[in-house]
């Protein structure tokens, strides 16, 4: 028996051959006792695998899985401010046009009102979610790729998030994600920029007890409970993240 026979037998056992190929393969196998034995082995192993139960997620696992993607999407400041900037730009445009047209005697009633223009700007989540032009220090998308994705994660959360009851494993995963956000947005390339942002941001602080322990200014990401104890999660510079217990001010988990 040769390697090509092995491959033939593997394909035959899996039903991957056409009817003509199957017929020819069966003839080959029938003339070779070792091939017949091998086919029986292959079929038996395949049958064993197929006897395993269908795997499905439990409800708990499914909720954990969705938890990661369901988190409110955090975006960089320029994306978060896009609706407001759009509204402001709309206001300036409408006001300017109004003044111009009033001056020329046109019918103002045909123009959109300021509130309509603002509403349009706010009602465009897709455009607001489009990536802003790359700022200095932020990586461009890979050459040849058009960045169309809304992007999952950003620098700072729009507000503290409530992660609910967390297991240690959940917390580990979360901290890893929080830390990796910096990498995903290319900010690990510019730690200085992140640190500046941390210094400017009103939320860039940590409780005094953590400051005393040498934890640098950090962005407060959210809260949750671990074994019934309230905890808070922070994103730190240098691709790190930390969770501490509010009652004892102990660091209960960190990444890395």
């Amino acid at each position: 028996m040769h390697d090509h026979d092995d491959e033939l037998i593997a394909a035959l056992a899996g039903g991957h051959l056409s009817s003509a190929e199957t017929e020819a393969a069966r003839a080959t196998v029938a003339s070779c006792p070792r091939c017949s034995a091998e086919l029986a082995t292959q079929l038996s192993a395949r049958q064993s695998l197929r006897s395993l139960d269908q795997v499905t997620l439990t409800d708990f696992e499914r909720s954990r899985l969705h938890h990661v993607v369901d988190r409110p999407v955090a975006r960089p400041w320029y994306v978060r401010l896009a609706p407001a900037l759009g509204a402001a730009a709309g206001f300036v445009l409408v006001a300017g046009l109004g003044v111009t047209l009033l001056g020329s005697g046109a019918d103002v009633a045909e123009l959109p009102t300021v509130s309509e223009a603002s509403a349009d700007a706010i009602a465009e989540p897709a455009s607001a979610a489009e990536p802003a032009p790359a700022a200095e220090g932020i990586e461009e998308p890979e050459a040849g790729l058009v960045e169309r994705s809304p992007g999952l994660l950003g620098l700072a959360a729009p507000g503290p998030l409530d992660f609910g009851d967390l297991t240690e494993a959940d917390l580990g995963t979360l901290l890893q994600l929080i830390a990796l956000e910096q990498e995903l947005e290319g900010l690990s390339e510019s730690v200085t920029q992140l640190q500046e942002k941390l210094a400017e941001d009103a939320t860039a602080s940590v409780p005094e007890c953590l400051e005393d322990a040498g934890v640098p200014p950090a962005i407060y990401v959210g809260t949750g409970t671990l074994a019934g104890e309230p905890i808070e999660l922070f994103m730190l510079p240098d691709n790190r993240a930390v969770a501490y217990q509010q009652s004892s001010c102990e660091i209960v988990a960190q990444f890395p």
Binding site: R34, R46, V55, V69
Partner: protein, 194 residues
């Protein structure tokens, strides 16, 4: 909704890329069990499989724009899944100073009578887990997920012949582990087995 009205995976992906986040959730709901199943068979335990599944969907979420449409969406999804599992396995291997949890032992005699079929399944799962990752992936995709040899070749990025060979050897190792090797009844003269 009839099957014809049901949006295709590619259509959902396009909608997601246009900013419709519900489309992503539909895509995820459609495939999460299948992705988890592959991850579980490759990783060997539910916790690692769930991590790998999360990572797979995060990759999909972030890099959906990289799907070029040259292959079926499911082929691409399997590819991301398998690569994610391999990454996780490498990571686990790096941290394998601590022994992994063994399968739980059942000592309760009252449960012993339920063990028959379950023990067999556990043996098969254990035998599968002992296979080299490349063999395991090939046999899981072919024999459990019913992918064609060509699809598996696209997913793992090796020629079809290599897939066949891996499947053959994986099944043989499994049969050996399970004590299911079929003995040849006759040894023909001059059969030079390689």
């Amino acid at each position: 909704m009839t099957e014809e009205d049901r949006p295709t995976d590619e259509g959902l992906l396009d909608r997601y890329l246009s900013g419709d986040s519900d489309a992503f959730h539909e895509l995820m709901s459609r495939h999460e069990d299948r992705v988890f199943s592959v991850c579980l068979r490759i990783m060997g335990d539910r916790e690692s499989a769930l991590d790998a599944t999360q990572e797979t969907f995060l990759t999909l979420y972030r890099k959906a724009n990289r799907f070029s449409g040259r292959s079926a969406f499911t082929t691409w999804l399997y590819r991301v899944t398998v690569n994610t599992c391999y990454d996780q396995l490498r990571r686990i291997r790096r941290h394998q100073a601590q022994p992994l949890d063994e399968s739980p032992q059942v000592d309760d005699p009252a449960q012993q009578d339920q063990l028959g079929a379950r023990e067999v399944r556990q043996e098969i799962e254990a035998a599968l887990a002992r296979l080299p990752p490349d063999f395991r992936t090939a046999v899981v995709l072919v024999d459990m997920e019913d992918l064609s040899l060509k699809e598996v070749s696209d997913v793992v990025g090796v020629p079809v012949g290599t897939v066949k060979s891996r499947v053959f050897r994986a099944r043989r190792l499994l049969a050996e582990s399970l004590g299911n090797l079929a003995p040849p009844s006759v040894h023909p003269i001059g059969d030079n087995d390689a």
